[in-house]
Symmetry: C2
Subunit: 146 residues, 2 copies
DNA sequence: TTCGAATAGTTGTTTAACTAACTATATGCC
DNA sequence: GGCATATAGTTAGTTAAACAACTATTCGAA
């Protein structure tokens, strides 16, 4: 049952997601200024590996909401940068387990600090309770469409 | 002055914008099913031209939050699809004024209906006042980073 | 009036998303 | 055991975003 909250005139910015692209753009510039040679997409993969590495590409697909070809290419590029290694699983030879290199571990703190800084800039002037509501709405939207 | 609303553990989904990509993906599938041979990015350009055509590429850049090369290529592809025409301005020969073709005008209603339907699906179960708060927050975020 | 700066748009390069088609390995059923 | 099916990952092709470098036209100030 549609709830018809949207009129045709206001569809645009919700669909095009200009806020999140602006955040990503700002963070990318901070990475460049800090000589962190990383794209936001590569960072988003490392983000999950910093929490736990030695996971399969399929698990990275689920964590980052990307399809398999996208992860194949991101891991390709991260491997070229010597930030991760593919290791064939012994239990299931179809799987590549992805491990961080020491260089990648060194980048965690600086890049997370820049991400936190970016979000604080983005959310300046927004009351904390509205941020919470916004996060909840975006989660519901994602779940509705999954 | 940062307001430190974010802990490091919850940065991810705000930056990666998974909700808006899910919406765009859903809408793209509806376009494909309806034989509307359009990408979401092409649609986002037509969206502004339906409101007013005969505008310059620069004006399309501002309206769609894209840079000039992106609009050049989107207009290239829309021209190949015979949905728009570039017409050199008589007052300022640097400018291309972009006009819709009759075929493009025919696509307005069906595509806007699908966009509205997609948003209603996305926002099922979200109270209207929370949608308003979320829209306001995303607008502030965009303005903060602009 | 002319020359430097600003503006409008294009082209080339890299990275990435998505789809479809593909290979290789594993699983499960007969 | 052998074959159909599912799963993990790769490759190819198209579209798009971001950035830098470029051309052409216009504007503005000495």
């Amino acid at each position: 049952m549609p709830n018809n909250q949207f009129k045709k005139g206001e569809l645009y910015s919700f669909i095009t997601g200009k806020a999140s692209t602006a955040i990503a753009r700002r963070l990318q510039k901070k990475f460049n200024s800090a000589q962190l040679n990383l794209t936001i997409e590569q960072w988003s993969v490392l983000y999950h590996l910093w929490k736990e590495d030695g996971i399969s590409q399929q698990e990275l697909c689920n964590a980052t909401f990307r399809d398999k070809p996208s992860i194949t290419r991101l891991v390709d590029n991260l491997e070229k940068l010597k930030l991760v290694k593919r290791v064939a699983s012994k239990e299931d030879r179809r799987m590549n387990m992805i491990y961080l290199t020491p260089e990648a571990r060194k980048m965690q703190e600086a890049s997370m600090d820049l991400a936190e800084e970016t979000l604080n800039e983005a959310l300046t002037g927004v009351p904390a309770d509205q941020v919470e509501i916004c996060k909840a709405v975006l989660q519901i939207v994602y779940d509705n469409l999954k």
